[in-house]
Amino acid sequence: MYLFNKKAKTMLANLFYVMFGLILAAFFVIAVFLRVESALGDSTFHKRFYARDLALLVDSMHASNGYFVMEYDVNTPDNMPLDINLEPDHVFLTDRDDKPVESRAKTLFRIGFNEYVSVNKSNITVTPSSFKIIFENNSIRFD
């Protein structure tokens, strides 16, 4: 006595294939969500981006004359507060923390400085908003 005839066997194999496909799809969706979430939840990209962008902006300001103020927007997720620091030779960003800035992991990018323009030390604590970059009397500061 045959338990399954030919048609039933094919249908059962089909069912296995569909089940396999569903399980694979579930793993796939989970893997994609985890990957996207890890990319979005990690502040590394934001820190790298803003460190480079701000440092190169300050760098380019060394070719300037006069007085001007720039409004710089920072768009980071609400749960990703960053501290932005300007030093005479570099810009660095850290995750906001209770620890002193010196003991935090820094993401920095260097500025090409010279003796004609002074870069004043500044610290910006960012809650998704904006701050000013001021070039005045051959000195640059964040405010």
Partner: protein, 172 residues
């Protein structure tokens, strides 16, 4: 249920699905790779770095460009030949870490004959140029970008036409 016995789910039917299974896995892996490709968490500042450096060379006061000492006005595109030196360049753009950027500037006259050469961070330029020119990859090497523009150069208070060739080298 037994696979290979009569009445069980035949291995034959399952074997028929192996190509489909392989294809399904390949398609999903492909989509995952594509998603990874579009999730970009790297930031490559090199194109911007070379633009900023180039513009600093062209527009900066107290650098190689001619500057009116009374008004402080810079004349972009007019090179003061006396300022076209390694010292002036190194003084106008300094990095706290030397392996950041370097450049070689060659000034040519109208007949495209070399008038003068100056280096920014010359030590690292001469170290890394052979690697960059031979397009060796890796952390120890560098990328080199070349740009030539027409300019004027000021010699004995006379503006002469010429070209400046900038080779900007950015370590990897």
């Amino acid at each position: 249920m037994k696979l290979n016995k009569k009445g069980g789910v035949g291995a034959e039917e399952i074997l028929e699905f192996i190509p489909y299974i392989v294809l399904t896995v390949a398609v999903m892996a492909g989509i995952f790779l594509l998603i990874n490709l579009f999730i970009n968490i790297t930031v490559d500042p090199k194109p911007l770095q070379r633009e900023v450096l180039f513009n600093r060379l062209i527009y900066s006061p107290n650098s190689i460009m001619y500057m009116d000492q009374v008004t402080g006005r810079v004349y972009p595109g007019i090179i003061a030949l006396d300022n076209f030196t390694n010292e002036t360049l190194d003084k106008s753009i300094t990095y706290s870490y030397e392996r950041q950027i370097a450049a070689k500037l060659e000034l040519y006259d109208q007949k495209k004959e070399l008038v003068k050469t100056a280096y920014l961070n010359g030590v690292w330029y001469t170290r890394l140029e052979p690697l960059a020119q031979s397009r060796i990859k890796g952390e120890g090497s560098a990328d080199i970008f070349t740009r030539t523009i027409p300019i004027l150069y000021r010699k004995n208070s006379v503006n002469l036409p010429g070209y400046i060739k900038t080779m900007i080298l950015i370590p990897n």
